[in-house]
């Protein structure tokens, strides 16, 4: 084989396409709808139908020249290459991209998680020769607790402090819907109040078959009525002027970073909820081993530790530095 199956900037020569490119390209394969993976302005986009729906909702119908939907489990032959998408479990529609050329198999995970989540298609392990994995939580200090236990802590805090309003900081795409679903599954049947930035995407999830219960815009509610209630808002809003409309708010944040108390303190979070949409350290290790890959490229996060670990397992491994990604960015950049 003269040309590699995949280059280090996630370009696939056999089909002349980029995976999650940071700048507009002629052809792009998009793993999922978060802004650091899905951008507007590509000539053609190949993605799951759900991801395409999310991109159109966020960026408009004409955010790419044309869209091609590929369902999970279907394979698309383009010249020498076979392309397929497999559930990544990260958010609704999120996919791992599998490319096969002349018997060589590469897999780009995008962002992924393995814990069950009814707002995203369940993660599916895929075998490959070259694995490109994210490492958002690629340090052994990240051992995510059960999300149900974290939601129980939130509900206990709500019950213990009936005069206060709980503001839960969540990214608008994925995290918000997952937290709402977890609350519903834990038996919280009161209306859940939403910051304006959440509304469109929650509606889209409902349209795509994810039931979220009664949701009400938080803006415009009388202050006193919000005591004992739960509001979902973007992290930037929960400590902003916007939050002053609620009675004595308890600032909560749902994120994998919240396991580090010093981080929670810096962010002035009073109730950290360790709910992550990424694999923790153990799950990253497990996924790498299960893939059977002999070569691992590590990106998006704390690459050093995961590369070191892979080498200790006897695997070839190197970090990828993809342009436009800060080493300490938010969860999934979202």
């Amino acid at each position: 084989m003269n040309q590699p199956i995949l280059t280090r900037d996630l370009y696939v020569p056999a089909i002349d396409a980029w995976i999650d490119p940071g700048t507009p390209k002629k052809r792009a394969i998009i793993t999922h709808g978060h802004a650091d993976h899905a951008r507007s302005g590509h000539g053609a986009v190949l993605a799951t139908p759900e991801t395409i729906a999310i991109m159109k909702t966020r960026y408009g119908e004409d955010c790419a020249g044309r869209f091609e939907a590929l369902r999970f489990g279907e394979a698309l032959r383009i010249g020498e290459a076979l392309v397929s998408l497999h559930p990544a479990g990260h958010i609704l529609g999120s996919a791992q991209v599998r490319i096969e050329v002349e018997g060589q198999r590469a897999l780009v995970t995008g962002d992924y998680k393995r814990l069950p989540d009814r707002t995203a298609e369940a993660y599916e392990p895929v075998e490959c020769d070259l694995l490109v994995t994210e490492a958002t939580f690629g340090l052994p200090v990240f051992q995510h607790p059960k999300p149900q236990d974290e939601i129980a802590r939130l509900l206990k805090s709500v019950a213990d402090q009936p005069g206060r309003c709980h503001l839960v900081g969540c990214y608008a795409l994925g995290k918000a819907q997952r937290v709402i679903a977890l609350l519903r599954d834990a038996g919280w049947d009161q209306p859940i109040y939403l910051h304006g930035a959440m509304i469109r995407l929650c509606e889209l999830y409902e349209e795509l078959g994810v039931s979220l219960g009664e949701l009400i815009p938080a803006t415009g509610m009388p202050k006193a009525a919000m005591a004992g209630q739960i509001v979902i808002a973007p992290p930037s809003a929960i400590r902003d002027v916007w939050s002053r409309r609620f009675p004595d708010p308890v600032v909560c944040q749902a994120s994998g970073w919240m396991s580090i108390k010093q981080r929670a303190r810096q962010a002035l979070v009073e109730l950290p909820l360790v709910i992550s949409d990424h694999c923790d350290w153990g799950e990253l290790n497990q996924s790498i081993m299960e893939s059977g890959a002999g070569t691992v490229w590590v990106t998006h996060g704390r690459e050093d530790a995961l590369v070191y670990w892979c080498k200790k397992q006897g695997l070839e491994a190197e970090p990828l530095t993809l342009p436009g990604l800060d080493d300490d960015g938010g969860e999934g950049g979202e």
Partner: protein, 521 residues
């Protein structure tokens, strides 16, 4: 232990002082002895689990976790205790026993057995209990709770005056059963030998430019600000104690001072070293402070003495409610009756106007290296804490130099994700050589800007250290410069801090090493 872990977590994450006090008061009211007293000891820094040190915890963890992965994790998390709590790879299901049982277990286990016992506790604990366990074991809380806040909660809970609690504090020991009994009205106030213990110190505020307009110089007395360490000498019935400002008794390190002291009193002053009451540099004092037991040679080369400036008890009489002027008169009379060889009186400086004081301050700094002057309200009583308007410190202007940022490293604790430790340097020929390191002197907002600048201008990384483009100039304030082998430049600044960030200044206009050498003296 779960209740204690919940309390620590709440204290760490609540920024509201009122809410912290309420949570502490509730804990002390609801949790039984001796657990609450032990918790109080942890919060006030009085808990010492002798055999458990951070190194032992680290060793326990490194038996289970790869060393490189641990180092990368520690660099990322920024707090050793939290790193250990988060990285421990084994999980059990049971809750930890109550706080007093955990403390007893840690205290009674032999050194050889400790790693196994600690490992067992870490496995047994839920993650946030692990965090509390490590905090408890190492004593390094860093959760934004001061001993004073804990005592304020005791006052809140009981209605007893905070000052009354402070007064008995140094005479009682964990788990403080007699304290709680008194606070709950079940017994009388604990009996303390009232002058054989530490009395909380009175502290000063820095003077501001505009203060001079409203203050009348005739109401104030001036003294030199000495460059030693603040001590409280308790010349009691059963011996002499010498407390540091945090209440540690350091008498054992200075037998030359305490054995020579005559009379009965509680005195406030500055511990210095030197012959015939000629104070040597702080560096010289440091050599004695570093030693638990002083050698005969040290005591003859660097004899200690205390320069006294205030009196809290005259004999057994509490005179703290008297004004400064009256206490000073008592102090002078006491020196007249009790001749001393290792104590002398701090002189009162005569002046008529604030301009006079400004001149004295400059002269004192230039000719004698004094740190500045203290201004004391003549009518002020001796009040523990930092009361407003009574004592002012007017420090000499610091030396400043414009230096270039060279390297940055992530901070620890609250700043763990920020590049907040800075190494800076001066020009030697065409290269820049390091002259010091500073990690404070900027606002939170400036820290964010610096962090951003550093991330955008990194040209190399060495482990946790980032090398940056030599383009950003800091105005660095410092107390003095010394020869030192620690830096390539051969010079180190004492007590450097960032006084301004000179975003505007081009790096080539920064100081040359010759400019810095001029400060060595």
């Amino acid at each position: 232990m779960k209740r204690f872990a919940d309390l620590l977590e709440l204290l760490a994450l609540t920024s509201s002082r009122t809410r912290k006090i309420a949570a502490l008061a509730q804990y002390f009211a609801e949790v039984p002895d001796p657990d609450r007293g032990l918790a109080l000891a942890v919060l006030t820094g009085e808990m010492d689990i002798r055999n458990v040190k951070p190194a032992l915890l680290k060793e326990t963890v490194l038996a289970e976790v790869d060393e490189t992965l641990f180092a990368l994790s520690y660099d990322y998390v920024g707090d050793l205790g939290e790193t250990i709590a988060l990285i421990w790879p084994h999980h059990g299901a049971a809750d930890l026993p109550r706080l007093s049982a955990v403390v007893a277990l840690l205290n009674e286990t032999s050194k050889a057995e400790l790693p196994r016992v600690i490992g067992g506790l870490l496995t047994q604990a839920a993650i946030h209990e692990r965090w509390a366990l490590v905090k408890l074991a190492t004593g390094a809380l860093r959760i934004g709770v001061s001993a004073r806040l804990a005592k304020t909660a005791l006052a809140e809970m009981s209605g007893v005056d905070l000052q009354a609690i402070e007064e008995v504090w140094h005479g009682i020991k964990p788990p403080y059963a007699e304290l709680f009994a008194w606070l709950e009205g079940k017994t009388e106030r604990p009996e303390i030998d009232h002058n054989a213990r530490f009395h909380p110190l009175m502290l000063s505020n820095p003077i501001e430019e505009h203060d001079f307009e409203r203050l009348d110089p005739r109401d104030f007395a001036a003294e030199w600000k000495w460059d030693g360490i603040r001590v409280q000498l308790v010349l009691g019935r059963d011996g002499v104690s010498m407390f540091s400002r945090t209440g540690d008794d350091i008498a054992a390190s200075f037998p030359d001072v305490v054995e020579a002291a005559m009379g009965r009193a509680v005195l406030d002053g500055e511990l210095l070293v030197g012959h015939d009451f000629e104070a040597k540099s702080f560096n010289d004092l440091q050599q004695r402070l570093n030693r638990k037991v002083a050698s005969a040679r040290q005591m003859s080369e660097l004899p200690g003495f205390v320069r006294v400036y205030d009196m809290l008890f005259d004999g057994d009489e509490d005179i703290r409610a008297f004004g400064w002027e009256e206490r000073r008169a008592r102090l002078e009379a006491w020196f007249g009756k009790n001749p001393q060889t290792r104590l002398d009186l701090s002189e009162v400086l005569p002046f008529d106007s604030w301009e006079d004081v400004a001149r004295l301050r400059r002269q004192g700094a230039d000719e004698h290296g004094h740190e500045g002057v203290m201004l004391k309200l003549r009518t002020a009583p001796y009040v523990p804490g930092r009361p407003k308007g009574f004592w002012f410190k007017w420090k000499r202007d610091p030396n400043v130099v414009d230096a270039v940022l060279m390297y940055a490293q992530r901070g620890h604790g609250k700043r763990s994700s920020y590049y907040s430790d800075y190494t800076f340097g001066a020009w030697r020929g065409n290269e820049i050589v390091p002259i010091g390191k500073a990690y404070f002197g900027f606002t939170d907002e400036e820290l964010k800007q610096l962090d951003k600048w550093i991330r955008a201008n990194t040209i190399g990384s060495f482990g946790p250290v980032r090398e940056v483009k030599k383009e950003l100039v800091f105005e660095v304030a410092f107390d003095s410069a010394q020869r030192s082998g620690r830096h390539k430049s051969g010079i180190a600044l004492r007590f450097p801090r960032i006084s301004r960030i000179r975003w505007d200044k081009p790096a080539h206009e920064a100081a040359r090493i010759e400019d810095v050498e001029a400060f060595v003296g």
